[in-house]
């Protein structure tokens, strides 16, 4: 029986596997390094393809090592490594050889590994172990893998639906609430919010996802012919809420508070600023963080947008009326302790079609999994309700 020897060298496991055809051991470490060395524009493809052919003859015991190589792989290398995992698994299964189920489960359970690698391991495991999903998913409601989390939420939705079907409303509400706490995908959140509201529970989607609802808005500035996207208007040099500006057509402009009442925090600039075409508008928010923390600023808009966090541009996307969705644009930045400034510029073009009249945006602050981060959003209007909450979970 073949024996697998492994050792550790730096962050990468160096493993030895037996090549089925020759019965000669092959050190997979250098092979994995060749996959991880692929670069942009196809660089290193020939060397990687050769290494992949060698890897494909390995026994399945090597799979956790290949999966672990995904932890620090570039997106290009990740797809080469994924292919190696698929080929090794397929060829071993086709030959009637088992996959290393125990090692795969250990890998799945270790949340230090890269989320997609863990999901891939989970899918290999469930190919050979019918009970694995039932064993693992209940503990994955807050998993860093959104795919595993999604499956965990789906299980709870089924459980709650069953309770609802038996008219056990209290159990149904409790299970829906647990599912809602874990849900990050909009379709599941919509469904759960609907069920919870029907059961009399309070649901605050914007708070759950970290949407900013309290803004200062300013506009319109000129964007005739799209000039406003590249133009650097005064707010981009620093926000002074007391200052008066000269906007499009010589209009005198001042910042004014606006609170979104939309469940997903959408700000309709046609209402907040007024209906204008060929116009640029700004929205400004201040969020207070107790700590320095990495965050993602995620926005959706049918318009061209630029987003700055503390003066640093994180998002720049010039496209008009081709559709919008939650988390359409993602900027990666860092909150500093204390007050942080978020500024978004939203440019409306001059299309006349009915479907091209929307002018607005939604924006949330979350971690890389999509979980709202604990911040306090400045409330500008005495009548304004809290937006993302005093302390988000």
């Amino acid at each position: 029986m073949s024996r697998l020897r492994t050792c550790v060298a730096g962050p990468l496991f160096l493993a030895v596997c037996f090549v089925a055809a020759s019965a000669e051991p092959t050190d997979v470490g250098p092979l994995l390094q060749r996959l991880k060395a692929v670069g942009k524009e196809g660089a290193g493809a020939a060397e990687a393809a050769t290494a992949l052919r060698e890897l494909s003859r390995c026994q399945a015991n090597v799979l956790p090592v290949v999966l672990a190589a995904l932890d620090d792989a570039t997106p290009e290398a990740a797809n080469w490594l994924r292919s190696a995992v698929e080929v090794i698994a397929d060829q071993n299964l086709a030959a009637g050889k088992p996959l290393p189920a125990q090692d795969l489960e250990k890998f799945v359970r270790d949340t230090r590994h890269e989320a997609r690698a863990r999901r891939l391991a989970f899918e290999l495991l469930t190919r050979v172990d019918n009970s694995a999903a039932d064993r693992l998913l209940p503990g994955m409601l807050q998993d860093p893998s959104l795919e595993l989390r999604r499956d965990a939420v789906a299980r709870l939705i089924k459980e709650a639906d069953a309770a609802k079907g038996k008219n056990d409303k209290e159990t149904a509400r409790q299970v829906y609430e647990r599912a809602f706490a874990g849900a990050r995908d909009k379709d599941q959140i919509d469904l759960l919010a609907k069920e919870l509201k029907a059961l009399g529970a309070e649901v605050d989607i914007a708070r759950h996802l970290g949407f900013v609802r309290s803004w200062q808005v300013l506009g319109p500035f000129d964007s005739t012919g799209g000039v406003g996207f590249a133009a650097v208007y005064d707010p981009e040099r620093g926000v002074d809420l007391q200052k008066e500006f000269t906007g499009k057509g010589g209009a005198k402009l001042r910042w004014k508070p606006h609170v979104s009442v939309d469940a997903y925090g959408t700000v309709d600039l046609n209402k907040a600023i007024g209906k204008h075409m060929g116009a640029a508008g700004y929205a400004y928010a201040v969020v207070e963080s107790a700590d320095e923390r990495p965050v993602e600023i995620r926005a959706g808009s049918n318009n061209a947008v630029k987003i700055w966090l503390n003066g640093k541009e994180l998002v720049s996307h010039e496209e008009y009326h081709h559709g919008t969705r939650m988390d359409q644009y993602v900027g990666v930045g860092k909150l500093r302790p204390g007050k942080n400034e978020v500024l978004i510029k939203v440019c409306q073009n001059e299309q006349k079609e009915e479907w091209a009249q929307s002018w607005g945006f939604q924006l949330r602050i979350c971690d890389r999994v999509g979980t709202a981060v604990p911040v306090v959003v400045a409330q500008w209007s005495p009548a304004a309700k809290p937006t993302t909450g005093e302390k988000n979970p």
Binding site: K40, E41, G42, A45, A49, P75, E76, D90, H317, Q328
Partner: protein, 406 residues
């Protein structure tokens, strides 16, 4: 005696391929040469879920991409995942429909798109050595026949700024050792040629910043092989080997429906259906005729035996004379059509969104007898059919059907 140069042999080889692509296979979007034509005979006229289905295979996810067939291998793409970021390439045995292999990559570009489309919208291109699959995310991958990864590129990372929030759908074209990729979009817009063997960029040209869904067309112009890229405003020919611009024709053209060759002329859909004849060099092509009466919607036109067949947004199938654009007949079909019609053995096959394929007898003189059959399979069908190995390959959102006599 002076032997022909390697360059000349390459040109002759290219032109030979352009002159008469083998129609036994269906290697790319709309088959050999993108013509939508097959030499197949004896295809079934009637079928249903219970009859004349050789096999059907469950697909892992949605796709507007068409199946392609080379030899006994059928390749098809799909996408899965809540974010559509899991991109699948499948290879099936054309005879029994059994899956030979399936591979996945993780998408690296934006997955934003209109709900009708998805990330598996571009049709892959295949040859004897394997398949090249482009996805709407800008990820492009090549596998050999056995499913071994040959090369992979994230075009979204190689060339940041690619964006089409409606969703990309133009298909790559394989021509000998070159992969031609249309990445025309609202941001960093370009088209390019990649090395078939390595994926390396051979040339890359900047294109109009606008969203576009047209698949390029390879044509012979004198001694040169050219690739045509079409947008809503122009169609431009580039030297296939170097990417050097050869000629441009500006007009109100379609940004969805793709051009096709007909008897050496370039038939271009648009607000004015335009027929061009290249001059054999880089001079502006001759406008043979144009017509604002021939309308196309999403489907691309087909040329067959001197006639042009188009499907408009009212689901009217039109037959026009390719010589001057004169109307010959029109036939109203039913439903909405995303797929382009294809022709084999004197019959036109047009599949609508609801999964009904209209089989049209192109030789019928009687309007009443033109529609030979309406074959319903159900499910949602957005992909253009493939024809190979004496069968039609129809792809729905959930299934791949092989329609043919058993």
């Amino acid at each position: 005696m002076k032997l022909p140069s390697v360059k000349l042999l390459a040109v002759l080889s290219t032109l030979a391929c352009l002159a008469g692509p083998l129609r036994a296979d269906w290697p790319q979007f709309r088959g050999p040469g993108g013509a939508g034509l097959s030499d197949a005979k004896g295809l079934p006229t009637k079928w249903s879920a219970d009859s004349n289905v050789r096999w059907k295979a469950k697909l892992p996810g949605r796709g507007l991409s068409c199946p392609v067939v080379v030899g006994d291998h059928v390749y098809v793409t799909a996408c899965t995942g809540y974010q559509q970021d899991r991109l699948h390439v499948l290879c099936l045995d054309a005879a029994p429909g059994k899956q030979i292999w399936e591979r996945q990559i993780w998408g690296t570009g934006s997955t934003m798109c209109h709900p009708t489309t998805c990330m598996a919208a571009p049709t892959p291109a295949a040859d004897a050595s394997g398949v090249v699959a482009l996805f709407a995310t800008g990820d492009i991958v090549a596998y050999d026949r056995e499913g071994n990864l040959q090369w992979y590129r994230s075009l979204a990372r190689d060339y940041p700024g690619i964006t089409n929030n409606v969703g990309m759908a133009s298909s790559p074209i394989l021509h000998q050792n070159v992969v031609l990729i249309p990445l025309e979009n609202a941001g960093n817009s370009f088209s390019a040629a990649l090395d078939r063997a390595t994926g390396a960029t051979l040339w890359k040209v900047e294109r109009h910043k606008d969203i576009n869904w047209v698949t390029p067309l390879v044509v012979a112009n004198g001694s040169q092989a050219e690739v045509l890229f079409q947008t809503g405003k122009e169609i431009t020919a580039y030297d296939l080997r170097t990417g050097k611009k050869r000629w441009t024709h500006e007009a109100g053209l379609s940004s969805v429906s793709s051009p096709v060759l007909g008897d050496g002329q370039i038939l271009i859909p648009g607000s004015e259906f335009t027929v061009l004849k290249a001059q054999g060099d880089s001079s502006a092509p001759e406008v043979v005729w144009k017509s604002n009466k021939i309308k196309t919607s999403y489907p691309s036109p087909v040329y067959y035996k001197g006639r042009i067949y188009t499907l408009n947004s009212a689901s009217i199938l039109s037959c026009n004379d390719a010589a001057d654009g004169a109307s010959i007949w029109q036939q109203r079909l039913k439903g909405k059509f995303w797929a382009s019609p294809v022709i084999a053995d004197g019959k036109l096959y047009a599949v609508n969104e609801e999964g009904t394929t209209f089989v049209i007898d192109l030789g019928a003189s009687d309007d009443q007898r033109r529609i030979l059959a309406e074959n319903k399979l159900g499910d949602t069908f957005l992909a253009t059919p493939a024809i190979a190995r004496g069968a039609l390959f129809l792809r729905s959102d959930g299934w791949l059907y092989c329609i043919g006599a058993k």
